[in-house]
């Protein structure tokens, strides 16, 4: 059995990558929105005071609509991108949980032969490790029980009414074998 005793939750690198990718996407979105906003609010040169005044008034009127339209469009792209990133990242947690749920169901049905294997970049490897240790441990227990049971049955089948002299010896052997089955079960806290 491989003992894995590490951090049992979600790794720090997962958290860092998630934050960095979302932030990068947001910065890129804001950057493009700014460029568009910059060029849309760029004024031409005015030769007279009145012309200059008119241009500034026009800019004042348009600024709210322009900023809302440009930044909202950028936000939509940012939201779409962030949603995709979140789907991929949440899948690295939810996917293993789905797989582990199936594995737990198979253990409940008595299948102690399997081993759960997660993808390389999946989170919750520690949970999978714990379940594998559990299966390994119960597999060992049941194998032990099967051996003891077979042994007791073997002793039981040796009985013959003619062996009257050895009967005491036979009984103590059978009793010991059955006791060993009990000892094997008593290893578990039931």
């Amino acid at each position: 059995m491989v003992k894995e005793k590490s951090f049992q939750g979600i790794s720090h690198s997962y958290l860092q990558k998630l934050i960095v990718r979302c932030s990068f996407l947001f910065i890129a979105g804001i950057f493009f929105a700014s460029i568009i906003f910059y060029f849309s609010s760029l004024q031409t040169t005015a030769s007279t005071y009145l012309e200059s005044f008119k241009l500034l008034i026009q800019l004042r009127h348009e600024i709210l609509t322009k900023s809302i339209v440009i930044y909202s469009s950028a936000t939509l792209f940012i939201i779409a991108g962030i949603s995709c990133i979140c789907v991929f990242y949440s899948h690295r947690i939810v996917g293993p949980i789905y797989r582990l749920t199936q594995f737990v169901k198979s253990i409940a049905d008595g299948d102690l032969s399997g081993k759960v294997v997660l993808r390389g970049n999946d989170e919750l490897q520690s949970l999978a490790g714990s379940l594998n240790r559990l299966v390994w441990s119960y597999n060992k227990n049941v194998r032990g029980l099967a051996v003891k049971c077979r042994q007791a049955r073997q002793t039981f089948s040796e009985f013959s009414s003619e062996e009257q002299l050895d009967f005491e010896n036979y009984c103590s052997r059978l009793s010991n074998d059955i006791k060993e089955i009990e000892t094997e079960v008593e290893k578990l806290k039931l």
Binding site: G9, L15, S23, F26, I27, I30, Q43, T45, A46, S52, L56, L59, R60, I63, L64, S67, Y71, T75, I78, I82, C86, V87, S90, H91, I93, G95, I97, Y98, T101, V104, K105, A108, D109, G110, L112, V117, L118, R119, G120, Q125, S126, L127, A128, G129, S130, R133, S137, Y138, A146, C149, R153, F159, F167, C171, S175, I181, E182, V185, L188, L190
Partner: protein, 189 residues
């Protein structure tokens, strides 16, 4: 314990994944809305100052360049903080039940099938926790039956004082052994 294979479905748990996405989307929307509001406030202030000044600039160029840079800088700083807080909150909400489940499963692995596994009402992956508890219950039932049967075998074998008496209980003992064997064979090893 790692493997490279592709999953076809990316939306497995809509509730958990939905919450995950919504938190990040809300953070982005809030910061963008604040950025738009601040940008407009600063732009109006700048334009009003310019308009009411005695001398208008001949060359306007990018009149709102500084305001834009200021707002963008603030928006980036705020969004990084918002993402850090959101991601940490999500991860903490997941880590709590995962760490608890890990220790519960380790306890079961050591042979303790007595204690129930319970996650809190608001914890993530309650279904998985219930699945693990169901597994514990079924294993408990199976081993309990084996334990009872071995107890009965022990009792029966102790009853025989001589070969004649043993001959009488032989059939019962055989039945118990067959039953025990059947219970052990329920497990796929």
């Amino acid at each position: 314990m790692t493997k490279n294979y592709k999953r076809r479905k990316y939306f497995i748990n809509k509730e958990v994944q939905g919450k995950f996405i919504i938190k990040f989307v809300i953070a982005s929307i809030l910061v963008t809305l604040s950025a738009i509001t601040l940008l407009n406030y600063l732009a109006y202030r700048k334009l009003d100052t310019v308009l009411f000044s005695m001398k208008l600039p001949q060359h306007h160029g990018a009149i709102l360049e500084n305001e834009m840079l200021y707002v963008n800088g603030l928006a980036i700083i705020f969004i990084i903080f918002a993402f850090i807080i959101t991601a940490k909150k999500i991860v903490n909400r997941i880590n709590g039940p995962v760490i608890k489940l890990c220790s519960d499963i380790d306890r079961i692995a050591l042979g303790n099938l007595k204690n129930r596994i319970r996650l809190r009402e608001k914890d993530e992956f309650r279904d998985f926790g219930e699945g693990v508890d169901e597994m514990r219950k079924k294993l408990h039932e199976k081993f309990k039956s084996i334990s009872l049967l071995s107890g009965e075998l022990q009792k029966l074998s102790g009853e025989a004082k001589d070969p004649k008496g043993f001959q009488m209980i032989k059939k019962q003992l055989d039945g118990k052994f067959v039953e025990l064997d059947r219970l052990i064979r329920q497990f796929n090893l």
